[in-house]
């Protein structure tokens, strides 16, 4: 049962982690993109719809990423080139994506409720040979889909890129002190734009991880994960492993809430609030701690 819980936790973590890694890039560049939720949602719908229509997982995923990245680029254009307030642009994106996916669902699939995409190919779980047969650990280490595995691998890649490549140095320099960055010839505009595009890609993957394994789309199915990812960004303090741990906490609280729904008679609505309560507690602890270090 414990191995089951850990397994569910990791599955629940994937979309949050992917979106949070994307958000982290914009946070490091000094201009946090709060449109993660909207970009996830847009990609969640597009990927499953296209995968269903073309019977190709790859094309579906690429279509989802295309839309979320385009959204991110438009946001970057508005907030960097036209100097619109980045929070307003982010909020607008979230509202836009919510409306867009519902509208497309109605006009393309003639349904307002849960959309089933039965023709879409299955994103199968990968069983790692031999590892899967280890008792207890086999269940924890094996049997995830490609997106779950890639989220972990991407975390490590992000870490290497941010702390061990010139790009990572430049990005952090831009976020910490743009004037200094400019004075040594680093373009603030370029790095912030690229960070937005990356946030679009990662949040898009996060959206794919929501809809594709289930082969369904429901309006507003991100259900606050984009916002929770933002909290993970803040808690992670610019370190991909920090972001991973924060996402894991939220993944675990979702898994916990799921488990309680199956095992107890407590009102499911109440149980669904657990991740948000955890978020609130996490932010409070973080605020108290950073206040202490500040003093």
């Amino acid at each position: 049962m414990i191995s089951n819980f850990i397994h569910t936790t990791l599955v629940m973590t994937t979309p949050i982690l992917l979106a949070a890694l994307g958000g982290m890039f914009t946070d490091l560049s000094g201009m946090l993109n709060i449109g993660l939720e909207g970009m996830m949602l847009a990609s969640a719908f597009t990927s499953i719809f296209v995968a269903n229509a073309t019977s190709s997982l790859l094309i579906g995923i690429l279509a989802g990423l295309c839309l979320s990245t385009t959204l991110a680029a438009i946001m970057a254009y508005f907030s960097l080139s036209l100097r619109a307030n980045v929070f307003v642009v982010g909020l607008a994106t979230n509202l836009f994506a919510n409306g867009l996916t519902v509208f497309l669902g109605v006009s393309l699939c003639k349904s307002k409720g849960t959309l089933l995409f039965l023709n879409a190919p299955k994103l199968s779980n990968i069983q790692i040979p031999f590892v899967k047969d280890i008792p207890f650990l086999g269940k924890i280490l094996s049997g995830y889909n490609a997106l779950d595995y890639s989220a972990i691998i991407l975390t490590i890649i992000c870490y290497l890129v941010i702390f061990h490549t010139p790009y990572g140095y430049h990005l952090r320099a831009v976020g910490k002190d743009p004037r200094t960055a400019i004075s040594v010839g680093i373009s603030v505009y370029k790095h912030r734009f690229l960070a937005f595009v990356l946030s679009g890609l990662f949040a898009g993957l996060g959206g794919v991880a929501l809809s594709l394994p289930l082969k369904i789309f429901v309006g507003g199915m991100t259900n606050g994960r984009g916002w929770i990812a933002l909290v993970a960004v803040v808690l992670g303090q610019g370190n991909p492993f920090g972001v991973f741990i924060a996402s894991l906490i939220f993944g675990a609280s979702s898994a916990f809430s799921n488990m309680l729904q199956a095992l107890t008679d407590i009102s499911p609505k109440l149980l669904l609030t657990i991740p948000f309560v955890i978020t609130l507690i996490a932010m409070t602890v973080y605020a108290i701690r950073s206040k202490k270090t500040y003093e």
């Binding site: 910490k176 004075s183 040594v184």
Partner: protein, 526 residues
């Protein structure tokens, strides 16, 4: 190496001209500088003389309007900072450009990292490279420390290392001693001499004559954007340079009322005031005492950065004095809040109009009521009487001749002269007993300058006690009844402003030339 200079100068900047569009100031007007390879060349001049602008043009940060730059005998057109870097020119700015959370090594290599396999940086390589550079140049510093943990002197070393790492041959230091302690200055000078011995060329921007005489081989003096003197340091003397810096020009025609009213009763008393810098290490104001009488303008002359800012902020309650006292009309206001100072009749016009004097994103009305919104004229405790505020702003805008399309315009949209008029309108209309006014006409055109002077004279006739702080000597001489000279946080001279007093005399005290004699005699009256 390899390149043999066809000219004996490594750098020549000729007939450089620069006009700032924003406030229509001619910052550089045929400025020239010729620097020899392997020398320490001092670029001196008063504040606003154009020293930094000239060097920013060299570094590609500002664009010149006219003029030529020759480097190693070739004419160059410097396009941007990167281009300037590639030509071997680097500048240490007055405000350091370092990332606090990065280590010394990371800051040094930022932007020009060397990478190994797969584009990764090897932190060990970086630290080793910086360690070697630090040893070779004699700028000793531990590369793995975070910049946040370093003193100002150490940060400056990092900045110089940054330039050396990029292969700079010409190193510009902009007022490098202004943030350093005595010991750090000695270290810096040793480092600069070592760099010279290694064949680097150093351009040293300063307005402190003592330092310039000590460190430089050659000197170029700028005044109002023009090169007025240049030569070998050993062939010039301090008086000559001081005179060249300050100059003697035809004064602006102002109707002043020097000595018109006979001031008697002292309103502002300052006694043995000591103020430390923000870090609490260095004493910026070292035991200053003076009185300002009603109907008197007391001018404080001095080169910027000699404690004026700290003195004024301590007088107005923005900064805490470490000891000493300030009285307004007999009431002790030392270490009271700014509001207590204001309630007791002190008004303040800072040199920083946009940061301190006004809120650039607020409207004229809001800026005008900023110091009085809570007073009975404008408020019944919980509500601000908006229409009264509007009326007040409207009247003041008219009275002080502010050129604006509306009283709701945000301050930031206005010109410097109009911003200053609004600040003056607010401070003067608060009916103060004591008025502190800093660099009142800095950057203003002649018309606005005259306006400010006329209003100041009105205040004087209305028997206000006025403390005028300015680095513009003409202004001090034209307006003040008495003049104090501040140098390194102390009053080094006290003059009655009589016809025999000249700029040259004050200039010498400002440069600290008579420091020793004065410290012995405490004060001299002319």
């Amino acid at each position: 190496m390899g390149v043999i200079a066809t000219s004996k100068y490594i750098l020549e900047m000729l007939k450089i001209r620069k006009r700032y569009e924003v406030n229509d100031v001619l910052a550089l007007n045929d400025a020239e500088i010729r620097v020899k390879q392997g020398t320490i060349h001092a670029l001196v001049g008063e504040n606003g003389a154009g020293k930094t602008t000239l060097m920013k043009i060299l570094c590609g940060i500002e664009k010149k309007d006219a003029g030529e730059i020759w480097l190693n005998g070739d004419k160059v057109d410097i396009r941007n900072p990167r281009h300037s870097f590639s030509l071997g020119i680097g500048m240490v700015h007055q405000h350091f450009r370092l990332i606090d959370d990065f280590t010394v090594a990371e800051n040094v290599v930022l932007g020009v990292e060397i990478t190994r396999k797969f584009g990764f940086i090897s932190l060990r390589d970086v630290i080793l490279a910086v360690k070697r550079l630090s040893k070779d140049s004699g700028l000793m510093i531990e590369p793995s420390l975070k910049v946040r943990e370093l003193s100002m002197g150490q940060r400056q070393k990092v900045e110089i290392l940054k330039l050396l790492y990029r292969g700079a041959d010409i190193i510009v230091l902009d007022e490098p001693t202004s943030v350093l302690t005595e010991q750090e200055i000695t270290d810096l000078f040793n480092a600069v001499r070592r760099l010279k011995a290694q064949g680097k060329t150093i351009i040293f921007i300063s307005h402190k004559l003592k330092e310039v005489m000590e460190i430089s081989d050659e000197i170029t003096v700028l005044r109002k954007g023009k090169t007025v003197q240049t030569g070998k340091t050993e062939e010039l003397n301090e008086k000559e340079i001081a005179y060249a810096m300050v100059g003697e020009e035809i004064p602006l025609e102002i109707k002043t009322s020097k000595g018109l009213s006979m001031p008697k009763r002292a309103i502002l008393h300052v006694r043995d005031l000591h103020v430390k810098d923000r870090r609490g290490l260095v004493e910026e104001v070292r035991g200053i005492s003076f009185d300002v009488k009603a109907g008197e303008i007391l001018g404080i002359a001095g080169v910027a950065g000699n404690g004026q800012k700290e003195l004024v902020e301590a007088l107005f309650g923005i900064r805490k004095a470490s000891s000493g006292s300030v009285f307004i009309d007999g009431k002790d206001v030392t270490s009271s809040s700014i509001r207590v100072h204001r309630e007791n009749g002190m008004a303040y016009i800072p040199d920083d109009r946009i940061g301190e004097g006004s809120c650039p994103t607020s409207s004229i009305v809001e800026n005008i009521i900023a110091d009085r919104y809570y007073k009975p004229v404008l408020s019944n405790r919980s509500w601000i009487d908006i229409s009264a505020a509007r009326r007040m702003a409207g009247t003041l805008v008219k009275e002080y001749d502010v050129r604006t399309s509306s009283i709701y315009s945000t301050i930031g949209m206005l010109s410097g002269g109009n911003i200053q008029k609004i600040i003056i309108a607010r401070e003067f209309s608060s009916n103060p007993k004591v008025l502190i006014i800093c660099e009142p006409t800095w950057g203003l055109d002649i018309r606005s300058t005259k306006f400010v002077y006329d209003r100041l004279m009105e205040m004087k006739i209305n028997r206000k006690a006025i403390l005028l702080i300015s680095s513009n000597l003409d202004e001090i001489l034209d307006l003040s009844d008495r003049i104090l000279v501040i140098y390194e946080g102390e009053i080094v001279a006290d003059f009655n402003n009589t016809a025999v007093l000249t700029k040259a005399v004050i200039g010498e005290y400002m440069m600290g030339l008579h420091l020793k004699t004065l410290r012995r005699e405490k004060s001299t009256t002319l």
